[in-house]
Amino acid sequence: MRGNVASCDHCDLLIGPGPAIREEIGGREAVFCCPGCRSVHALLVSEGLDGFYARRRGWTPGPPSVPPLDPETFAAAAREAGADREIDLTISGIRCASCVWVIERHLGKKRGVRYARVNYTTHRGKIRWDPTQTDAGTIAGWIAELGYAPSPGETTGMEETLARQKTDLLLRLGTAAFLSSQIMMVTAGLYAGYFQGIEQQTRTLFHLVALGLATPVLFYSGYPFLRNTVAGFRNRAPGMDTLVFLGSFSAYAYSVAMIFSGGEVYFDTTAMIITLILLGRYLEVTAKGRAAETIARLFRLVPAQARRVRNGGGGTLSVVETVPVSSIREGDIVEIIPGERIPADGVVAEGESEADESLLTGEACPVDKAPGSRVFTGTVNGSGRLRFAVTGTGRDTALSRIIRAVEEAQARRSPVQSLADRVVGYFVPAVLLVSLLTLGSRLLAGHPAVPAFLASISVLVVACPCALGLATPLAVFVGSSAAQSRGILVKGADALERGAKVDAVFLDKTGTLTRGMPRLTDVVGFALPRDDVLAIAASLESPSEHALAKAIRREGSGGKIRDVTQFRAHPGMGVEGTVGGRRFLLGRRTFLQDREVAVQEEEEEIARALSEEGKTVVWLSDGKSPLGILAATDTLRPESPECVRSLIGEGYAVAMVTGDGEAVSARIAGEAGIGTVLSALTPPEKTEAVRRARSGGSVVLMVGDGINDAPALTEADVGLAMGRGTDIALESADAVLMRDDLRLVPRFLAISKQTMRVIRQNLFWAFSYNVVAIPLAVSGRLHPIASAALMAASSLVVVGNSLRLRKEAV
């Protein structure tokens, strides 16, 4: 080899004799093209990961190839922007802020590019260029040459609506906040004037300034409330918005009247109510926007391009061409290389590999793929090359069916009328009635019109929703931060409120009740002692990253781990290697069969018994006869039985829902202590099970982690996701367990109940203020400063009572 052209031991690129770096590694001379490759190789070897080189089958040397782009799709997505053209691109492969930086810089240096900006959160880029100097396809090519995959960005309707809503709210909120701060300054002057005396002229000036500032707050920032109030009256269903608008409007109208009759003004009340409530709304819309973003990102998980095989499968030479995924049809043969994301649903025609389907199922262990097995869009291929026949693309895949189910469940889910809304529904008409009665009775009694009118407005002002409006949100805020400090992230205000009413708990099996990854449960030795079987298996599996290999290593790490040489992995079958001078095979039954290992009937019997329990069985052999078998299975989380016990003890109905078969489900349910098991359910059936329970009158809490749980999480009254769950599960859920600890489930329910208790107390206190103040206002005896003091006192009581939650919550 010396003096001739060689190939780099790490990256396989051909190198001339000059620049090659030669080094002795493991008693053999290794050649590298650069110091980078040498240090990566040294690192892999020193960490015992040189199995990497054995596993990279079907790999071509050189930098990762980026599939060619179709310039026309990009040109079609571009639009006019003055004299320039502009395009929105979705760029996949962005992992950190440096990616954003390098793309922006790279494009910025090109001729003709006027503007390039990539959004770090959404992975969207906006690029503007001069059409006389370059074009969309070329720009996409520049991004692709950096190793990122651009695709014409499509926005979903939901995203756009939310983005518009968010901008609109932000403008209204910002304006209200700015004007409120100005009003506060003027009001501070007026308060000082009340106690120290103030010139009449100055006072009127301050009043007029406050009026000028408060008007846009009420009618511009408060417009959504005005709109909903009108709609609320039309539907005879006054809600929280009605109360907000009525409260702020009556304060405003009363103050305007007072400017002319010389009383106190309450423009600050008008502005603050609207500002605070807008702030809450804005935060809510932001959270919803994140959920929509996640769903949109799921759609983008589908690769934009696929390798279609023409004349594939037969004996003739097949041609592989790269085409956009949209042109793939049912029945086409598509090829996937190791590590690639699968672009369509299909059935494997050729090749063996395993696929990481954790995206769909939450199951960490890769699923073996051989001719005949189904593959799913968006899942990741393992270490083998596969060719499969397409059975579904686009909207007709398992992935998009699940996403649609989540969207449908979200749309169907009617907003639950919160306790505060219900109370307001009675309160608003009652206050309006009292106000009208005040006006009517005074006019009838022969009072002059102006004071009679003022008395009726002052009823509305003192009934102002300050304490009432704070009662629920504050308790929920303190309740959720108490939950957060205990490891539960509560996303919506109503999650706690509905959580308090839950009476049935549905638990997913894989990844929720269980760990979601296999653990070694049985080791049987035939020709060797148990411990030796385990030690050899653990040594053999040491270079492997397969979930089963990790399980074996974890269990066998106590024994004597020896170096493995001449390691070879056979995807979907097993591994082989030399340990302590002897050649061993470790893999499934068919792997041994291929190598013509003679298996005895009683050995077969033991293996069969283990697989009937739902366990994955691997055989260890020396190539002539089996030496032992190892079995692994997904096991229960240690805290699951405790969680179930305490839920049942508190009177909740507990059920397990799972997509797995009956035998495995029954065993896990038995271990966890759950009586009701719904097994072999597809994701829609899981949702259906939740819906049935709800229509039967139950309030359902669903706990899950996979994409397959997402529709059920949305359908349930309260969805609770495990912290290590998939993105979509996290976003579909109302609350997330930040630690993977099921004992947080009963804790969440307890915090919910306590929060509801505090909300009820708060509403009671807020009302007790009205019970005192409204009669005084009706009689016209309420002094304005006394009224302000009462309002402050009632708000303080509500604040103090809510803060108790932080200390007392379980």
Binding site: C96, A97, S98, V100, W101, V118, N119, Y120, T121, T122, T167, L170, L171, G174, T175, F178, S181, Q182, M185, V186, E199, Q201, T202, L205, V209
Partner: protein
């Protein structure tokens, strides 16, 4: 009296300036990516 009016006027003018800046910021999508900016400041601009 005049000092009061002047100060009121000044505070409202300054406030309006800030408000206009805010409206401009919202309209020109400055609030679209609040996550990326904190990373961007760490990058060297040559």
């Amino acid at each position: 009296m005049w000092t009061t009016i002047l100060l009121l006027f000044l505070s409202i003018v300054l406030g309006t300036g800030a408000w206009l800046l805010f409206v401009w910021a919202v309209k020109s999508d400055q609030y679209d990516d609040v996550e990326g900016q904190k990373h961007r400041i760490l990058e060297d601009d040559e």
